[in-house]
């Protein structure tokens, strides 16, 4: 495939991003092998212990050991992000292509809808949805679906802009003159060029979805029994970990989350700049 002959070495940001993601996956896989995930359940260790040889990352007020909790929490948070981000990008790609390629009133509708919804504070709306649909907590999957509701706007905007600029290029007319129909033009002519942008939008959407998810969890609307990173932070705040000085309760989830966000940000902006020179160097 022609697109893969570009080695990411000349793009520093992309390399750093990919390395960080690799680190995350390694943490998830190795953790799964070497750490007993049962220790993530309550009273599997003495409560509120500072990090020590026995409890590498210490334990929380209910006796959950932090390291296993992290190893159990990372996959769930990532899964929510991937599902919500994925759905968001799929919706964004279809809407972006329809608006950008077919223009006319459908473009005006999609464009103004995405701009208007974009300015609405997503968290506020998600709060209403989450709090109404379940007075208890949501399951991880339903959380992903709710977050997906408001993660299509940004991909729609960026992909529409790319399709609009690409569509004006004469090779689209040339394809039409060679007998291609609209859908074939989208798939064979436009899609391969926009592939790096689609991946970049996907990575950005995953980051945005995770941010929205931990936002809801931090407000207590997350899955009550799944040990996601956001919920760990919520419980630590709920039990006043800051005041009591149990920093090891909220420090690990924050560090892992920052790791995730920086990794995804570097990858998506690296992909963007890698996609640009290729297009410009026509």
């Amino acid at each position: 495939m022609n697109v893969f002959r570009y080695l990411p070495t000349d793009n520093l940001r992309l390399s750093i991003g990919l390395l960080l993601i690799l680190g995350l996956v390694a943490f998830w896989v190795l953790g799964g092998i070497f750490i007993d995930l049962d220790d993530a359940n309550p009273i599997s260790g003495a409560p509120s212990q500072a990090p020590s040889m026995k409890y590498w990352l210490g334990t929380d007020a209910q006796g959950r050991q932090m390291l296993p909790l992290m190893v159990a929490g990372v996959p769930i948070t990532l899964r929510i992000g991937l599902i919500a981000g994925g759905l968001g990008v799929i919706a964004g790609t279809t809407l972006g292509f329809t608006a950008g390629y077919f223009r006319g009133w459908i473009d005006t509708v999609i464009r103004s809808a995405s701009d208007v919804v974009l300015t609405i504070p997503a968290l506020a709306v998600l709060v209403v949805v989450a709090s109404t649909l379940s007075s208890g907590g949501l399951s991880a999957n339903s959380m992903a679906l709710i977050v997906a509701l408001l993660s299509w706007m940004w991909p729609t905007r960026t992909i529409r802009a790319q399709v609009l600029s690409m569509r004006e290029r004469s090779f689209v007319d040339m394809a039409r003159l060679s007998g291609m129909g609209n859908y074939e033009i989208i798939v064979r002519e436009l899609l391969p060029n926009l592939f790096p942008y689609l991946v970049a939008s996907f990575v950005a959407a995953v980051a945005a979805a995770i941010l929205a998810a931990i936002g809801l969890e931090a407000l207590g609307l997350g899955p009550q029994n799944d040990p996601t990173l956001g919920m760990t932070i919520y419980w630590s705040m709920f039990y006043g970990a800051v005041l009591s000085g149990w920093w090891w309760w909220y420090a690990p989830p924050i560090v892992v989350l920052v790791w995730i966000f920086v990794a995804l940000y570097m990858t998506s902006s690296g992909l963007d700049s890698w996609a640009n020179p290729k297009l410009r160097r026509t």
Binding site: T119, I120, A122, A124, V128, G215, A218, M237, F261, Y265
Partner: protein, 335 residues
């Protein structure tokens, strides 16, 4: 900006408000076979240890008072009427205080925090971004770029917790939360105002630090592309002073897309601020929303969310009205 354009823009603003109100009205009825208000009343009654016997009657009375027994569309009209008067009913948890009074108490705190920190982040970030991109600027400025990039990826409230731990808990330079000393009584004295700012430092710092990164990156990208524009090359060729080219030719043009980006980012910023207020227990609308959620106080939740959406829609409207003043190409059409 002709009156027709203004009218069209105002129409969009009203549509957004109407959509937000309808969304808030429809959502509770979406959940099949569940009436959140009824559940809340049962929960509250049972919580008090009282008998749940007579509860059905009280619920029926409650529903009659609030017209919840009428057909849906009539309820909708009543709801819309109240929302227009900004009357969201009474808070369930802090009965009988009105939702609106709670909101008016919390709103000034949030406006202060949002206003100051967003403008600060936008201003400093845009300037830093511009300096990063301009060829004439000394090299050391470039070292600013990597940290800014990393910070822009970190959400406000995670940064907030970090700051809280280091500056409040460990070194206790700043109070560990709250908007003003518990004992204080709000009055216009230097002492009280100083207290408010002293409490607001950490919350706004967490917003500004992450915000600066976001705005700097946006501005840097803009300035890099503007540096190659024909009008900048001609300005250099005409021997204009570097300072003038940077300010009146470069920065002045890069500001336009930056203001548009501000409009689009408002929703994102407010979402962040809700969480920051929760972490710092800052007495703004965010904490109010958090308390409303944990107490399942639906009317308060709907009121706060509606005010947030209206606030954002209002500020985007203002930004759209300000934008033509910045860009003559929109102010004066092609005549």
């Amino acid at each position: 900006m002709t009156t027709r354009q203004f009218g069209a823009r105002l129409l969009v603003f009203l549509i957004v408000i109407w959509a937000a109100a309808s969304l808030i009205f429809i959502l509770p009825h979406l959940a099949p076979g569940r009436n959140p208000v009824r559940e809340r009343l049962i929960q509250q009654a049972a919580g008090g240890g009282g008998r749940a016997l007579g509860i059905e009657a009280t619920i029926a009375a409650f529903e009659r008072d609030f017209g919840l027994d009428k057909p849906l569309w009539r309820q909708y009209l009543v709801f819309m009427g109240n929302t227009a008067k900004l009357d969201f009913g009474t808070s369930l948890a802090l009965y009988p205080t009105k939702v609106t009074t709670l909101i008016w108490q919390a709103l000034p705190w949030t406006l202060g925090l949002v206003g100051v920190s967003t403008l600060l982040a936008f201003g400093l970030g845009s300037l830093a971004g511009a300096l990063l991109a301009w060829p004439g600027v000394p090299r050391f400025v470039q070292f600013l770029f990597p940290p800014l990039m990393v910070m822009s990826a970190v959400p406000y409230f995670l940064l907030g917790i970090g700051l809280l731990f280091i500056f409040a808990f460990k070194w206790s330079w700043f109070p560990i939360g709250g908007g003003s000393p518990l004992s204080s009584y709000p009055e216009w004295t230097i002492e009280y105002i100083w207290q408010i700012t002293y409490h607001a430092v950490l919350p706004s710092a967490s917003i500004v630090l992450s915000g600066i990164g976001f705005w700097a990156l946006g501005m840097r990208g803009m300035m890099v592309s503007i540096a190659n524009e024909d009008y900048i090359t001609l300005a250099e060729m005409r021997g204009l002073k570097p300072r003038r080219i940077f300010m009146q030719y470069g920065l002045r043009n890069a500001l336009l897309p930056q203001v548009t980006a501000l409009g689009l980012a408002l929703g994102f910023i407010v979402s962040g601020i809700i969480l920051v207020e929760f972490i710092f227990r800052y007495p703004g609308i965010g904490s109010l929303l958090f308390r409303a959620i944990s107490a399942f106080d639906y009317f308060l939740i709907y009121g706060v969310v509606f005010i947030l959406i209206v606030g954002i829609a209002l500020s985007t409207l203002l930004l759209d009205l300000v934008y033509p003043l910045l860009d003559p190409r929109i102010r004066h059409g092609k005549d």
